[in-house]
């Protein structure tokens, strides 16, 4: 019989950091609340427990947000309403999270949260990292699938007892799955206590769009726990001097025709981009790229740098597009790419590998080297479109 691990401290609940922008939750915040609700309902049933979904909401004049968090699945909301917190600021927000998570109050009598979720947005990722550094525990990033169960672990450090590595059952472990690399590998990350030290909360950031939010339900009840501000000048040493809306660069979501480039451009990235642009011009299309191109960071002629930046990425972690025609050039077709383009009406792919996964979700698959196929296709298209240009 393997041993069963018991943590030394008392940990409860699933906490969710709900990021807001201009007093509206970013969509991932309410998606996480929905998923936390589902996970904890199942958890309470599986373990005959009564643990809660706890939302963390900071900002200025946030009563409506606190109410929305409850209507979207939270049982408890830790809130701090202060003019200094109107916009996201990493240091004070981190301090307040640590204060709420480690303190005791009218609601919380346990040591620290059992689980903690953050949005995998620019700000959410940053605060997941600093908050978990402050709480001295572990963090997975960019998860898109979560579940809780007992796990039999054998690990050279975590389950070493004396000189022997044991097999030990860790109960109630949050399994955090994340797509790695270009979307072909899936890692399951666990945050595990060892013999000397507990690592709680078990935390991760969550890719926006991974989970479904709950409809608002005004019947749901919850309690609000204010976190007293109590920050000193040093906590506010970074200041937002100016803030302006970012002009939306390369918005592909409303385009009729998109030409996307993948790693097939590798042998001559500059030329590959040039060909893609020429084809796009004939089609009056815009240019997208796969995550593979973002990751590879090809050396290209500076004039074409803008076409290999992450803002143009199509996929689960990039833009989700639905044009009339989507042309995938040298894109192998990881599932994470598919999630960004499979609502396109017509999908044409060009790939030298006859077994490229993208074939399974293309209407036309052109087998061939993109450097040879694009110019030919472009010539034919110029003729076919001649009348409408």
């Amino acid at each position: 019989m393997p041993l069963t691990w018991t943590s030394k401290g008392n940990y409860q609940d699933m906490w969710v950091f709900c990021e807001q922008n201009n007093n509206q939750f970013v969509p991932c915040s309410i998606e996480m609340l929905g998923e936390a609700r589902r996970l904890m309902d199942k958890y309470n049933k599986d373990y005959s427990a009564d643990e809660k979904v706890v939302a963390v909401v900071f900002g200025y004049q946030i009563d409506a947000l606190v109410q929305e968090a409850i209507e979207r699945g939270a049982d408890v909301v830790y809130s701090c309403d202060d003019r200094n917190l109107e916009h996201f600021l990493l240091e004070p927000y981190t301090k307040l999270i640590a204060k709420a998570a480690q303190g005791k109050d009218t609601y919380k009598s346990y040591d620290e949260p059992r689980y903690f979720l953050f949005p995998a947005t620019n700000n959410g990722r940053d605060i997941s990292a600093t908050a978990l550094a402050a709480l001295d525990s572990g963090l997975a990033s960019d998860s898109n699938l979560l579940y809780i169960n007992d796990e039999l672990i054998r690990h050279p450090v975590k389950t070493k007892r004396g000189d022997k590595v044991e097999e030990i059952v860790y109960p109630r472990i949050l399994h955090m799955k994340r797509p790695d690399f270009s979307g072909f590998e899936w890692s399951t990350i666990l945050c595990i206590d060892d013999e000397e030290k507990d690592f709680h909360p078990q935390a991760c950031s969550v890719i926006p769009g991974s989970f479904k939010a709950l409809e608002r339900n005004s019947q749901r009840k919850g309690i609000r726990i204010p976190v007293s501000f109590g920050l000193v000048a040093k906590d506010l040493r970074t200041k937002i001097v100016k803030r302006e809306a970012l002009p939306k660069e390369a918005d592909l979501t409303n385009k009729d025709v998109i030409v996307s480039l993948g790693r097939g451009i590798a042998k001559n990235p500059t030329q590959g981009i040039k060909l893609g642009l020429e084809l796009a011009q004939v089609l009056n299309a815009d240019v997208g790229i796969s995550r593979g191109v973002v990751t590879a960071k090809y050396p290209v002629d500076p004039a074409y740098m803008q076409y290999i930046r992450d803002v143009r990425q199509v996929g689960e972690t990039g833009q989700k597009v639905k044009p009339k025609v989507y042309i995938a050039l040298g894109i192998s077709g990881a599932i994470q790419h598919k999630k960004g383009m499979d609502k396109s009406k017509m999908i044409i792919s060009v790939n030298a590998d006859p077994n490229a996964p993208i074939k399974e979700f293309s209407d036309v698959f052109i087998e061939g080297d993109i450097f040879e196929v694009i110019p030919k296709l472009e010539a034919h298209l110029a003729r076919a479109l001649g009348g409408t240009k």
Partner: protein, 279 residues
């Protein structure tokens, strides 16, 4: 004078033809060469911009096996006055928290700089956590997703522009501080003096990179005075329990397959595309 430390990492070379997969579609790290993480190049460019404009020293640090000296060499080709590698078998298998502790302790031993700069995410781990965690452990103010930096040496301040989701923010922070560059960071050299200095520094650093030994030091855990409980596997709260290939998408459309050499078929596809666009 503004002294900078830049953190860099060796990652598998993800360029097509270099990267090797195992049969189950997972990455074959043994067969894939290690190179400088592409985002770190941007962090080094930011440090070089500060050096061109304000003088000071740029120190490059990394954690990894001794073979990572070549990675530091690559970093010095972009820019660096000297380079340190924190290397010890005990550091192996570190997650972001253990890495942040090790990097932070290393920087303390070197001497804490005015600005620490990290790139956004490594191409392999892609967590984007190590920079913010290192900053937190050093108690440095942090500015992330930075696209441009101005240093006000007189008032010991930094003014940085950063991408905050749907907004651009201008952030003011006292020195010392920790900067994490966004992939969209751009250095700007408006004066001829700066451009000339840039070229001169670039030439010097390439010479240093070629003969790295005189500016290179490797320190192990003991030399760094690290707490063995906070490094490597032991200091890492997280474990990777399983790596599996993500199943490929089930067939949703039945593709008409044509050869790229079949001119007539390409003409037909062009017509279909034209029709789909009009329709």
């Amino acid at each position: 004078m503004v002294d900078c430390i830049v953190t860099v990492k060796g990652v598998p070379d993800f360029r097509e033809g270099k990267v090797h997969f195992k049969e189950d579609n997972t990455l074959n790290r043994g067969e894939t060469p290690t190179v400088l993480n592409p985002s770190d190049r941007i962090a080094l460019m930011a440090a070089l911009e500060i050096k061109v404009k304000h003088g000071g020293k740029v120190t490059v640090v990394s954690m990894g096996p001794l073979g990572y000296k070549t990675v530091l060499q690559e970093a010095l080709e972009v820019y660096g006055d000297d380079a340190y590698l924190f290397s010890d078998r005990q550091m192996g298998g570190a997650d972001t928290l253990a890495t942040a502790y090790t990097l932070g302790m290393g920087m303390k031993k070197i001497g804490l700089p005015d600005i620490v700069i990290s790139g956004f995410k490594t191409a392999d781990g892609e967590t984007g956590q190590t920079g913010p965690q290192t900053a937190w452990l050093l108690d440095y103010p942090i500015i992330t997703h930075v696209i441009s930096i101005e240093v006000d040496t007189g008032n010991r301040k930094v003014l940085a522009r950063r991408l905050a989701g749907e907004d651009i923010e201008e952030i003011e922070s006292p020195l010392p501080c920790y900067i994490i560059t966004d992939p969209n960071f751009e250095a700007s050299y408006r004066s001829a003096t700066h451009r000339l200095r840039f070229l001169k520094l670039q030439e010097e650093t390439r010479a240093r990179a070629a003969t790295i030994d005189s500016v290179f030091k490797a320190w192990n855990a003991t030399e760094l005075g690290l707490d063995p409980k906070k490094i490597g596997l032991k200091g890492s709260p997280t474990i990777v329990n399983k790596v599996e290939a993500i199943p490929t998408a089930p067939r949703e459309r039945t593709a008409k397959v044509i050869s790229g050499k079949d001119d007539q078929a390409l003409a037909e596809v062009a017509k279909q595309i034209a029709q789909a666009i009009r329709g």
